[in-house]
């Protein structure tokens, strides 16, 4: 009996009594630095330990035979070592590899500025856009504080690296936006139509961008709309120029938002002295619906529809009439923008993105009660992209897009009655691969095939980038690409068959990004071919170049609770295009531009104050008295602007409230954007083009009423 018990005990505990194996050793990273606190254990057992301050460990185990020894540490790949335990002490030396992440892996950065909450290394965040002085809460206004952009006070749009406003295209959830700006009157820039709060990410490329985007020669602004919101909210805004109200409701997997706003500048233009004569100050209404549906764990459907009619009448002085008569200019606009997108993981490692959009834009312009212009443009479009990861880091992306545009234009006065309509079908296919040679070296190789029915020609645009990580926080990148753009549809009414205009970009970028500081330097060269020239005939004989240097420095570290950035752009560009008789520096290019943005938060009183100073050297203007050889050789005076803003976060009736105040051009610089000459060319009769008011002011109260206020019990 006794023997039997002993036998049973031996059977049951046999292995553990027989052999206890001592294990010891060191754990280090690839550079040989010891890893402190790494976890070491035998799979499926309790046995193990942690490394000490020297990366050393030692423990004994009763496990035996073939086992797996695991090494784990945050930020490192878990390492599995097959081991045979037989009681013989073992000394081990283990090297662990860092997990591939954004901080230690190179990313493609040439040409791009990214503002998002998704990625951890970003240059601007969405909130930065609305708190930048001088931007007046407009995405485009904030982007003008970044290098590569021009300060153009008398035209709408973003002018990037020697390109005109039409060369920058805006995309919302992959869909090209035909009319991203409000329709205004000439010589007064308009704001962007869409609130920065609609977007969770802003990707602004000043060149060399992805093959997914086309029909833009200079720049792409890619906006990604918000996902399913966290909770239901009601928002009310009262501004010096109008009011807005919105309600967003969140169900489990669905959300629906409804927003309305009414803007009327009449009270404002009455109080603040205007240098222009508004017969009807700008008035606009906007209604929009935002829908989100989580279709599965990985699928999300987004839909957005916005309708905005606007109306304004301004009187321009008649430059050819010395008696001071005026020309009334009335513009009425109706804009509809609708898009829907759907993203889903369709198969293992295959992500499908599809988007569909319809938009229409109608203008009724009456000039001097005699000339009447009507434009009615519609754009229907769709896009599909498939993304497939290859290995650990590399990705393959391909897809296509289709656009169907219908343009209807009418021009009528006593002598002319023109009306015509044209259609254009634009199709593109693209493919792109981000190939990681190592964690330090990545190449993006891609291309885009495009065909437009109006131009009846197929082109191929290659796009490539290479980025190399030169150190822990810095990297060097290079990009090359061809970028085609269709000429404005107006030219298609003329009998000359036109082709695409084309720009080639060469970009060299260096950046150093740490937790709180960013430095970025970018040199570029762009060559333009086949620009539309209308002098003497409408052809594609225009050409040109742009070259320059953009510098950017942002620092959130040095001054407590302060954040500032400095942008500098040097631009040297010339082009022959439109009615230019010779190759000349265009009116929208200043040689030097400097912006300084400073924001200071005072946490004790929840106030943020900010200031933006912008300097730009003079821009060319046309003096008809100059001979054609000196076309656009004169320069306006230098441009200066200092803006201030302050925002106060507080609670009104326990509802989160922001009170914002801003003043543009505080010091009252009398900036001249250009000159306009009478038809006789007399210097005395010329008019300086300036902003509609020397200073502008804004005050707004924005209240957010959250619904689940569970803490109020």
């Amino acid at each position: 009996m006794q023997k039997l018990i002993t036998l049973a005990l031996i059977i049951s505990y046999g292995s553990s009594i027989l052999a206890q194996t001592p294990l010891s050793g060191t754990v280090s990273d690839k550079k040989g630095e010891p890893i402190i606190g790494a976890n070491i254990y035998i799979k499926d057992s309790y046995d193990g330990t942690s490394t000490d301050a020297n990366g050393k460990f030692s423990f004994s185990t009763f496990e035996s035979d073939s086992q797996s020894l695991l090494f784990s540490y945050i930020g490192y790949e878990t390492f599995t070592l097959p081991i045979f335990l037989n009681g013989v002490p073992q000394e081990l030396k283990v090297i662990m590899t860092e997990v591939v992440n954004e901080l230690n892996t190179v990313v493609i950065t040439a040409g791009s500025f990214e503002a998002s909450d998704e990625r951890r290394i970003t240059i601007l965040r969405p909130l930065d856009i609305v708190t930048t002085a001088g931007a007046a809460g407009d995405t485009y206004g904030a982007l003008q504080t970044l290098p590569g952009t021009q300060q153009i006070g008398n035209e709408t749009g973003l002018f990037v690296r020697g390109g005109d406003a039409s060369e920058t295209k805006t995309f919302i959830d992959g869909i090209a936006v035909a009319d991203p700006y409000f329709t205004g009157v000439p010589e007064i820039p308009s704001r962007g139509r869409f609130s920065p709060f609609l977007f969770k990410g802003t990707f602004f490329s000043t060149g060399g961008y992805s093959a997914q985007y086309g029909d833009a020669m200079s720049s792409a602004l890619v906006l990604e709309s918000q996902d399913l919101p966290d909770r239901s909210t009601t928002n009310i805004g009262l501004m010096s120029v109008g009011a807005s109200i919105g309600h967003l409701h969140r169900w489990k997997n669905t959300s629906l938002g409804i927003y309305g706003s009414y803007i009327n500048l009449l009270p404002y233009t009455t109080i603040v002295k205007q240098r222009v004569d508004w017969t009807k100050a700008p008035e606009s209404t906007n209604g929009s619906l935002i829908f989100r549906q989580k279709t599965s764990k990985t699928g999300l459907l987004k839909a957005f529809i916005s309708y905005a009619p606007s109306n304004s009448i301004i009187n321009y002085p008649d430059i050819n009439d010395t008696t001071g008569s005026q020309i009334p200019y009335n513009v009425r606009n109706q804009n509809l923008f609708a898009n829907a997108s759907y993203k889903e993981l369709v198969a293992k490692n295959w992500t499908l993105f599809s988007a569909f959009s319809y938009s229409s834009d109608r203008n009724d312009i009456v000039i001097d009660q005699a000339d009447s212009i009507q434009n009615d443009n519609t754009l229907t479009q769709g896009r599909i992209t498939l993304t497939h990861p290859m290995g650990n880091l590399s990705t393959l992306r391909f897809g296509g897009e289709l656009q169907h545009a219908v343009y209807t234009d009418a021009f009528k006065n006593l002598f002319v009655d023109f009306s015509d309509s044209i259609k254009n079908n634009y199709a593109a296919a693209y493919a792109e691969a981000d190939v990681y040679v190592s964690q330090k070296l990545v190449a993006r190789i891609g291309g885009r095939l495009e065909n437009a029915s109006l131009l009846s020609e197929i082109n191929f645009a290659p796009r490539t980038s290479v980025a190399y990580k030169t150190g822990k926080d810095n990297q060097l990148s290079f990009a090359y690409g061809q970028f085609y753009q269709q000429p404005d549809h107006y030219f298609s009414y003329s009998s000359h068959p036109l082709t695409y205009s084309r720009a080639d970009h060469y970009i060299l970028n260096f950046q150093n990004v740490t937790d709180k500081q960013t430095f970025r330097a970018e040199a570029y060269y762009k060559s333009y071919k086949n620009l539309v020239s209308t002098n003497p005939d409408t052809t594609n004989d225009g050409q040109g170049y742009a070259r320059g240097l953009d510098l950017f420095w942002r620092d959130k570290k040095t001054i407590p609770y302060a954040d500032y950035w400095i942008s500098y752009s040097f631009l040297d560009t010339k082009r022959k295009y439109l009615d230019y008789p010779i190759e000349a520096t265009p009116t929208f290019a200043a040689k030097h531009t400097l912006s300084l943005v400073y924001k200071q938060t005072i946490p004790s009183i929840n106030v943020t104050v900010g200031t933006t100073y912008v300097f730009a050297t003079g821009r060319p203007y046309e003096d008809p008295n100059d001979d054609p050889q000196h076309y656009l050789s004169q320069r306006t005076p230098n441009f200066h602007n200092l803006s201030l803003n302050a925002s106060w976060l507080t609670a009104i009736f326990q509802n989160f409230t922001v009170i914002a105040v801003s003043v543009n051009n505080v010091l009252g610089f009398d900036n001249i954007y250009s000159y306009q000459y009478p038809s006789d060319g007399s210097e005395a009769g010329r008019i300086a083009i300036k902003s509609p008011a020397i200073r502008s002011y804004f005050i707004g109260v924005f209240m957010s009423i959250g619904e689940d206020r569970g803490e109020d019990e």
Binding site: L9, S12, Y46, S50, T601
Partner: protein, 212 residues
């Protein structure tokens, strides 16, 4: 004879099982004590490593994963290089998701989920507060809904209120009320077992001091 042999082997396996169970309980108790008193990065690391090892051996138990996530969450607050916070919390999230898959709809697990979301705010409070603050709040409400008598969600809610400006729905007065509620609930709270979560009372008292 045969029966005796069978009986004996049965007895031995039962005792072995008990031994295993005792090993789990003892290891957990030792580690929980270590975690409760830990103040340094090093001690927290040792404690979470031990929990990870227990989780490795006891794959059906949710508590080792739970404590692992809680320990890592606490470690993240001690990091000076804020760029390392996210990778650390990503790991905590993996552990708490494991716990959640083993023990559905548990108030304590939701409390840790909220704790992790709040910890993400400190990477960049100015911009992340608006994003993760409300998310963390929603998860915390769920924790309260799952067990209204659990004091820990109230303690975290009070702590969040203390660090949130009054304009955003926080402030000292609001925090004091919540922490007072938490302390009352701590007094009444009896953990369902010796290994069940029972932390935070002292912290609630300290926080309440700061509200004054």
């Amino acid at each position: 004879m045969k029966t005796t042999l069978l009986l004996f082997s049965l007895l031995i396996s039962i005792s072995a099982m008990c031994q295993e169970n005792k090993k789990y309980t003892e290891s957990m108790k030792r580690n929980i004590a270590m975690l409760d008193t830990a103040t340094s990065m090093n001690t927290l690391q040792l404690a979470t490593n031990s929990f990870e090892r227990i989780a490795n051996a006891e794959k059906d138990e949710w508590l080792p994963y739970y404590y692992c996530a809680y320990g890592i969450g606490r470690m993240s607050y001690l990091l000076t290089d804020k760029t390392t916070v996210d990778p650390m919390l990503d790991r905590a999230q993996v552990f708490i998701d494991k716990a959640d898959s083993l023990q559905k709809d548990n108030s304590e697990i939701y409390t840790i989920k909220s704790f992790i979301l709040s910890a993400r705010i400190m990477v960049d409070p100015m911009t992340r507060g608006a994003q993760f603050g409300p998310q963390s709040g929603v998860v915390l409400e769920k924790a309260i809904q799952l067990d209204p008598e659990n004091p820990r969600p109230y303690m975290l809610k009070g702590t969040a209120a203390l660090y949130t400006p009054a304009a955003f729905g926080g402030g000292k007065d609001k925090a004091a009320v919540l922490l007072q509620t938490a302390i009352e609930k701590y007094k009444a709270f009896k953990p369902a077992g010796e290994l069940m979560p029972d932390w935070g009372e002292q912290r609630a008292v300290q926080m309440l001091e700061q509200c004054k």
